[in-house]
Amino acid sequence: MKILPPTLRVPRRYIAFEVISERELSREELVSLIWDSCLKLHGECETSNFRLWLMKLWRFDFPDAVRMRGILQCQRGYERRVMMALTCAHHYGGVRVAIHILGLSGTIRSATQKFIKPSKKDKY
């Protein structure tokens, strides 16, 4: 199918986030966790506006836990609601999880360059 012209496309934003969990979650599990959290906090009607899509995922070292960083695509104007829902994520299938927001960006490239690279403060 031919893609829409730029004026008709949905405007997007990219949320860089960090997941800390007791065991490593697969990509599918993480997607399910994000959707569950959005649906629980905002309901089906509101979540349908978010247009969520998990773009990329990286794994980092962390003491006593698994740490991953990723980029989540959402519709512009709904970023704050998505971030609220991500903050509320607490556990998935008996595994304790915490999601921290690293930042918000207009492109995947700048989100990666600004937020995903490990910082000096991360070292314990």
Binding site: S21, P63, R80, M84, R96, A98, I101, D122
Partner: protein
Amino acid sequence: MKFFDFHIQGRDHDSSLRLLLEASRLGYHGGVLVYPSERYSDLKSDFESLRENPELQDFEIACGVMIRASDPRDMRRSVNRFRKKADVIYVSGGNLKVNRAACESRRVDILSAPYTSRRDPGINHVLSREAARNGVAIELPLADVIGSWLKVRARVLEHFREILKLQRKFGFPLVLTSRASTIYDLRAPRDIINLAECFGMKAQEAEKSLTSTPASILEDSGNRQLMIADGVRLLPES
């Protein structure tokens, strides 16, 4: 701007250290380790060693005691016992008589989650006025929102909204805390400010409840021993 996590549940030395290091990584500048009153004497030595830990040099730590009282008399007895030992005194809310006694006492710093096991928020206009007059802060622990879902979460958000409405009218201090017992319960200050929008709190209000309100409680706590009477403070000899 200095962010404080005003309720981190203290346990043994290692887990408390882990929590404080994680809080520091997330952007907090200080925190209060809260110990249950029953275990306070056993865990006080852990707190002293954490305070001297070189890894936490840039992180301000204070010691708090959580008092779980069955009636106002019991609460007053415990507050008198711990007032000089701990920096911050918390009273666990829920019982209406205890909520009232805590709001009426100048010696209590924080009334924690007054809505616990109740169908109402646990404070009304009378208690709000008393809390504002005596400088007793009301604690809204975000663990109650994050750790629950569906009906329970909706009810907690409803209580938070009611308390916020009273706070705007009567102006008692309000603190947002994580009440974290593991690293999975901690959230970054910006995430907490974002989440506070869920129950109608403005960004400035949320920021104030994470920065200036905790700082003023700690400052008052430091000056408490020099306060002779209301409005009278003992100054050191020059």
